[in-house]
Amino acid sequence: MITRDTTPAPTARKTLLAVDDDLVSLRLVESVLKREGYNVLGCRSVAEAIACLDRNGTSEIECVVTDYRMPDRDGLDLLRHIQQRDPTLATIILTGEGDKELVTKSLREGAADFLDKPLNIQLLRSVVSKGIAETVERRRLETSDTAAEKVGQTQSQLLGLSALREVPHIKICYEPQYQAGGDFLGHYDRGPKGYCFLAADVSGHDLRAAYLSAFFQGMVRGMFEKQASLQEIMRFFNRFLVRDWNANTASGTQSLGLEASIAVCAITVDRTRGQIAVLNQGFPTPLLVRANGEASWLGEANPPLGWFEECNHEDFTTNINPGDQLYLWSDGLEDQALALQIPCPTLAVKLLNVTSTPEKRRLLDSQRDDVLVAKLDLKPIPSQPLSSGFEPLIAQEYRGSDIPRIDDHQALWEKALLEAVPQIDEGVCYNVLLALREAVLNAMQHGCLGNESETCEVRLLHHPGAGLIRAWVRDSGVGLSKDLIEEGGKPFSDNETMERHCGLVLIKTLPDSADWTENGTLLRMDFLLHSKTSSTPTILSHPGSNSHFSPTASTTFLNLTPSDSYGHL
């Protein structure tokens, strides 16, 4: 049978380093390898080998073959030296026959391979040849990495990331998975009228994605300068991708699957009209957080560019008020949030605020995609910095029939709270979780009547400046009647166990304030992070130490100022 040798043929120019204190053994290795056409530098100790590497430079040597047992320092010492100095250089260790422990240790420390002594000449040739191939491949990859890094640096300059970081009304976090990525950010000032902020994500994470991203960016800038509208830009680029790029990149052959697509979200802020327009082509839906903590997802996404020739480019417009902020992230953040099992808004806020490197590393552990997050101050309040205001932690919709999954939802809220406020008082955390659980169960059972077609929205936000957690629960159903809220929610009075709505009792007593509006379909609850009501009561001694049951100490009820809003306490 003819077998095909896949190892590369040796060339006369390859230089190897052979190290052995035993002269006979060294001469044998030298002679075998020289006959293969290699230049061989022979050394009789580790010190001599290091001096030889110093003299010749590691880049001139393609492979090292070293004996393990030598009188001064052993082969592993030399391996460690090489690993520190040039980890691309393959090192082969010669060991005593059957020394498995040493073999394991050598491989763990980075040896390319090992050979038993006495030497098998055929095996020596083959292992050295593979070692050389490994060095060549590692050096090729290192060069590619350096090239990719340079592309990444250029891309970063093109993206104007450092300049974007200086824009006062924008905060960004951009973490490409590799040196160069397919995500792209653009900020186009439109004078006193406003600005356009554009985020894009090219499919794929390789240099091709980076190239296409840069090309798209150039197109956008050029077309903006020619006064083209966003719709015209999207239409043009969609057609270009469908007709030209995707048709040609398959080298003239029929290709199944898409070659490239771009997800884009463009936010146009019109300060004079007090409006924003969101044009979304396949990007995750942005989250608008109002100054009062209301949070809503903005608009429906059109398909990404490059999918269909006939494609919608409709935008979504809404009014903005002072203090409103917009959060935007790429699907890379969604993948990361899923992997960490924390909600997307929580991770977005964490990444925008994180200052410690280990914490950032934890949040981006095993990153699966480029991660891009941006926060836009849509109508800044002059006296307030961008960091002030409500930060979203949870923005979810649940079906009315989702009651059996309430424990899973609660576990996620808890995770979000602990990520956002790691030092949160246990009592406040309990209050938030229990009140929110009751509010959501209420919305599902009484508002949505348990129907799958009805939904309830849940929002959880943190206001670091005010030391406040705010929760909103809105149902799409009938809401709660005023009578039920007022009568059913009263705490139990002394010596009577009349019918009470325990859920309402908890909703009304656990938060620092609770307020129903919109005919009882919208509940807002506020929890102070340093609330007196979360204080821990004194723990009594354990039974067995002559303790006896006693009536509990009286409880201080919240003295909340009533307002004329519906259902306020």
Binding site: E426, F492, T497, C502, S534
Partner: protein, 116 residues
């Protein structure tokens, strides 16, 4: 699993509830309590106190409170009194917030169950 123990000297029926009382767990717990009460009645035990050991509970929601209210009603019919032991201070607060602590003898203990 709810376990029960009768102390004739104290005229107390102890019920040990092994976990949180939440909307998602309250149904089986309620069934087990019912079985324990029926078994006690069959044994002819007469109790003046119903002791609910909730020292393992970390959260009690409205469904859990409803169960406790129904046990208070049942005890009132028998002219008996409910005693509740909790070890979690926040569970303890839940009783005081809702003023259910006025309907029962409530005790906050260290986290070791009573009837083990």
């Amino acid at each position: 699993m709810v376990t029960s123990k009768f102390s004739p000297k104290e005229q107390t029926l102890h019920l040990n509830l092994p976990s949180d009382l939440r909307s998602t767990t309250v149904e089986p717990t309620s069934r087990e309590i019912q079985q324990a009460l029926e078994a006690s009645a069959k044994r002819g035990e007469t109790w003046g106190f119903l002791h609910l050991d909730l020292t393992e509970a970390k959260m009690i929601d409205s469904a859990g409170l409803n169960l406790i209210v129904s046990l208070i009603r049942l005890s009132n019919q028998r002219k008996a009194r409910v005693r509740i032991s909790v070890s979690n201070p926040h569970v303890h607060r839940t009783f005081t917030f809702t003023r259910l602590d006025r309907q029962v003898d409530l005790q906050l203990l260290e986290a070791t169950p009573l009837t083990r």
